[in-house]
């Protein structure tokens, strides 16, 4: 996603990313980033909390106006309501990120890409 944002910026479209994987986005380098320190899957706020979602999207709109230089990151003030224990367990062997069926889908997706490359 960061690579797409960079291409849009290079071609005159201002962008803002709203996302959770701060180290990955900043390692790539993007113009504007709203860092949402939430579990992967909820970058725009907790499910069914429309007030929080509005607040987060508002931060992204504000950042479009206020950022004066690339690599501008703002961190939302909201906290994940169920605490932060998810940070200890995400991507650990005790808690497989994908189920066995999902791993098969992931492998199938990689194979589809290899097939696409061969056809092109």
């Amino acid at each position: 996603m960061s690579l797409v944002a960079r291409h849009l910026e290079e071609n005159g479209i201002p962008t803002v990313i709203i996302g959770a994987a701060r180290d990955i986005v900043e390692h790539c380098g993007v113009s504007r980033f709203v860092f949402v320190d939430f579990p992967l899957g909820s970058p725009c706020g907790e499910p069914f909390d429309s007030d929080m979602q509005s607040g987060i999207v508002a931060q992204a709109l504000n950042l479009l106006e206020t950022a004066a230089a690339p690599r501008t990151t703002v961190t939302i003030p909201h906290l994940w309501s169920k605490g932060e224990d998810w940070k200890k367990t995400v991507f650990t062997p005790d808690q497989p990120f994908l189920s066995q069926d999902q791993v098969k889908n992931w492998e199938a997706r990689k194979q589809r890409y290899r097939d696409q490359k061969e056809r092109s």
Binding site: L3, W80, V90, P96
Partner: protein, 164 residues
């Protein structure tokens, strides 16, 4: 608690799962930057996500090629009723959250509310999905130009991107 250092965590995780070749994340020193060209209240905003959202369909209706081709960018009308949309994305923290509320990762309603309030000028006719691939070359050579073409087709002045 400090934020998760995903690059290290993911590297360690996949090594533990028997994958030997660690993923190398994209990295650049220079970062392009385009300032807003006009006030947001006069700007048309578009939305890209990697949530793999599709319209619900009968079991025997296959997904379109655009929805399943890795690297492709596909579009759906912004005014599609939310209850008919669902996410096919499986790469998220399924222990901590869900993808049951579209607006928590693809803020269609929230953005429309900001348009109705005059905070932004308008939203584009469609929103867009990027079929994420793990090849940076594919993202740079295929997905990124396709996303730019979507912006131009729909007169988007600004893009909001929400990676899941």
């Amino acid at each position: 608690m400090e934020h998760v250092l995903y690059m290290q965590r993911i590297r360690d995780y996949y090594l533990s799962q028997g994958y030997e070749k660690p993923y190398v994340w994209a990295h650049y020193e220079d970062v392009p930057f385009t300032p807003l060209k006009k006030p947001l209240s006069e700007s048309t905003v578009t939305l890209f996500s990697t949530s793999d959202v599709s319209v619900r369909r009968e079991d025997d209706d296959a997904l379109s090629a655009a929805e399943t081709t890795v690297g492709e960018v596909y579009s759906l009308p912004w005014d599609t009723p939310l209850e008919s949309l669902y996410s096919r994305q499986e790469s998220f923290d399924r222990y901590a959250t869900s993808l049951d509320d579209i607006d928590s990762y693809l803020p269609l309603t929230r953005m429309r509310e900001f348009a109705e309030a005059g905070r932004i000028g308008a939203v584009t006719r469609n929103f867009h999905n990027i079929n994420r691939g793990y090849s940076q070359k594919l993202m740079i050579e295929t997905s990124a130009p396709a996303a730019l073409a979507k912006c131009r087709e729909e007169g988007a002045d600004v893009a909001v991107l929400t990676p899941v």
